[in-house]
Symmetry: C2
Subunit: 489 residues, 2 copies
């Protein structure tokens, strides 16, 4: 048996065990009885221990030294295995274990602090988590920038400098657009009561419209919408809020974007590192283009309006044009996950700056809340009213996910590029979307991006699909044109 | 760190990983999308490989040689770990892997053969499975009896000779009773249509009545009812048949018996070998006493009749006495899982004899169907009409579970003993059951048997609860008295 064959056989089992750990996480959020939490923590620790031991198995170094890749997918797999082995080997086992333990407990501390609107109760834990991640970043960076090393964990090859350039360029035009829209007459808002059964029916309809294959997936309810799994078992969750059916509908389309990407990766790559979405940023580009550029388009909302009338009856919106403006309403909302296409990236830019300051020691944990509130007022023009709608709103920092937020904005930038290329490639797109037919769009994404999985770097994956290096201009052009139409001067 | 502490730390992780494999099995039967089957097979193989490597880790022999148990639970854990290590080490890894592979595929072959009523299509696979299990039994027995070695895997310490004595003694009195009942006027049968929602509501009501803790469990639908998990995460499944609500109700009570046992084991034993039900036979004693001696009692069916009228309205049964006779109706039914209390053990005795003949080479696989049909006619007085209602009805042999069937009858014998002791200990039992209150019975079982988990051998576990060595007389006395009352001469 050659070194390559031995390595890939080992990797195949590792991937299968990783899939099991992922499925267990899904179970925890959807099916697990409440009394099982402590027991489940011990189970998760056991499987994570098995995975860590496999990721750092010393035989991997020997196999990698001797392995010859038979083809491009093999070469990409060697590259990805080497990358994971190097990263896992740099972090001392004791530090990795402490991070796992502390971040697992931190989630509960954060949830209670958020519930009680008590930032101070959470600060000691946040300080601990921040210090551990800084240590981890330093161990990973080996003399380089610790924050960049964390970013690289979510978006291989990306740096804070490159992100800063790309995302920083979004800021002036988005702020200018936002100011203009705040001065315009507000768009109409949705009112009424939308029963859960109808919302779940809408979730199934939009999932089907976007080509989510339920023979290889399923939809359940959970506190937070997410997508989980790979290959032929990719599951999504959704949630319902009686006042706001759009939350259910658009979070479903968003998660279908993630799930469709995983379902579309070439089956020949199953149980290998190449067989998954290539990065968080590229993943987010798929969820975002499904949700926004397609799902919130004038054409698709025309179809959606008819579907909602079929399910809910008359819900007080007179026509499809008004419905389109309701769906894309821009208002003062401090919650990132509920933000419109204009303001969403401003939320991310703020978090990106604050987390870099935290990681680099330029901002003390004790000063985070006031820094957040000051920056929020400056960027959004209104004040944060309480921590749960401010600095305590997101789970990311509590569980130590520093370097994760910027991939959301990067995903939006990539979605802007992909959308421009898609419009060129599929000129009849709006006519199809108006019938609820997304197959032209999703087929183009599948053929040009999704099926390749991790064959190339994240940036090259997007570049291959659009035929150029990605930049922020198409996203800005799209947002400005769209909202100038919705909010005419 | 002492050898005992090191061994138990290793074992704790092994138990947690075993729990994960069990949860994955549950997912497969309840939640998994159909397209994920092949992928899941690879995941199951990966976790089973991890477990097998841990079960046979050579360090276990060293730890066992040096370990000193600090208490009775520690001593029991050492005994159980040694037993598993010895058994796992005796079976060559290649044989274990081939058994896993062949039995996994055999289930599909059997399902298709059963669907097509085509015994011949299944014979080559059955011959292969039988040969592999015979080899495994020989490896385990090390010169002893291979079939006994397989029985010992399900019921530690039990032999075919001991089972033959105990179960063989059931036969004359059960056959005599059965003959008498066949000659009696038949009991009334249930008729009508019972909607699924009502059946699932009944499942929740009986589960609550029998003390199933849904904060540490859940009920889902599956093709076959089963119980899965341990400690604070024990889940059951049920199924519905529009013609036959008793299938749903009594399979739920049965699985609640299994689940309640696991939920009741002392929490101090969690993630150790002592922390689970001690054997298949003792487990079945709990499911059977819940289902039959309690659930099909005159007192409890009085309460159940009122519940069913509340859920389904008038369903054509005039009074509680008639309802009791309907629930306990004895008729000609070739299906084991639908058998009444009189005939169930006759099904088991037949399988016990046939599987011993198969394993010992006294019966060729090619002759199994005719041997089955002959024996069935002789024992039950009517002929098998088709293989799916005959030799192909059960999944056990197809997946190689030789030695498993007799634990069902053993469980019934144990349930008979426990019921007699319970009646002595809780004289007001019928008054409670008539109110749907099982707490006196389930509390007695919990305190006297369930909480001890695997602290003692299976037989000693029952003996401790009843204050004597178990035998078959109480079961026979109970069945004869019950059915003499239902079918008076």
């Amino acid at each position: 048996m050659t070194a390559f064959v031995a390595l890939m056989a080992h990797e195949r089992e590792t991937q299968a065990l990783g899939a099991i750990a992922g499925r267990l996480g899904w179970d925890q959020e959807t099916m697990m009885p409440p009394g099982a939490a402590a027991q489940r923590g011990e189970e998760m620790a056991a499987i994570e221990g098995v995975l860590h031991a496999r990721h750092t198995d010393p035989r991997i170094a020997d196999w990698l030294a001797a392995a010859l890749a038979p083809d491009a997918a093999g070469a990409a797999n060697l590259r990805l295995i080497r990358r994971r082995f190097d990263r896992a080997s740099r972090v001392p086992a004791a530090l990795a274990a402490e991070i796992a333990r502390v971040t697992s407990l931190a989630q509960g501390v954060w949830a209670r602090a958020r519930q009680a609107e008590d930032v101070a109760a959470f600060l000691p834990t946040l300080a601990h988590v921040t210090r551990l991640r800084r240590e981890e970043g330093a161990a990973l960076a080996q003399g380089g920038d610790p924050y960049d090393a964390l970013v690289d964990g979510f978006e291989p090859g990306m740096t804070s400098a490159a992100l800063g350039g790309m995302l920083g360029a979004l800021r002036p035009r988005l702020v200018a657009l936002r100011e203009r829209l705040r001065a315009a007459p507000p768009a109409p808002a949705l009112q009424g009561d939308f029963p859960e059964a109808g919302q779940l029916e809408m979730a199934r309809r939009v999932a089907a419209a976007f080509g989510y294959d339920l023979a290889r997936g399923r939809i359940d309810k959970a506190v937070h919408p997410f997508s989980s799994g790979g290959g032929n078992d990719v599951r999504i969750t959704t949630r319902t809020n009686p006042d706001d059916p759009f939350n259910c509908i658009y979070s479903t389309i968003h998660e279908v974007g993630h799930a469709a990407y995983e379902q579309a990766v070439d089956q020949a790559y199953l149980f290998t590192p190449v067989g998954s979405g290539v990065s968080m940023g590229v993943h987010e580009s798929q969820s975002r283009i499904y949700e926004n550029q397609l799902g919130r388009s004038r054409a698709f909302t025309g179809w959606l309006y008819g579907q909602m009338r079929a399910v809910f009856g008359d819900f007080g919106i007179a026509d499809a044009d008004t419905f389109y403006r309701v769906v894309n309403r821009v208002d003062d909302n401090p919650i990132r996950t509920e933000a419109d296409e204009v303001q969403y990236n401003l939320h991310i830019l703020m978090r990106f700056d604050l987390e870099q300051a935290l990681m680099r020691g330029d901002l003390a944990v004790a000063e985070l809340e006031s820094a957040w509130n000051d920056r929020f007022l400056a960027d959004f023009g209104f004040a944060v009213t309480c921590p749960s709608r401010g600095v305590l709103q997101d789970v990311h920092w509590p569980v130590g996910l520093f370097g994760y937020f910027p991939t959301y904005a990067l995903g939006n930038v990539y979605a802007g590029c992909l959308h421009a290329a898609l419009r060129r490639a599929v000129p009849e797109l709006d006519a199809d979307l108006a019938q609820g037919d997304t197959s032209g769009a999703t087929g183009w994404l599948r053929d040009n991006l999704q099926r390749h999985g991790g064959l190339q770097t994240p940036r090259d994956t997007v570049a291959r699909a659009i035929g150029a290096m990605p930049d922020e201009a198409p996203l800005l052009d799209y947002v400005e044109a769209k909202f100038a139409d919705i909010y005419p001067l």
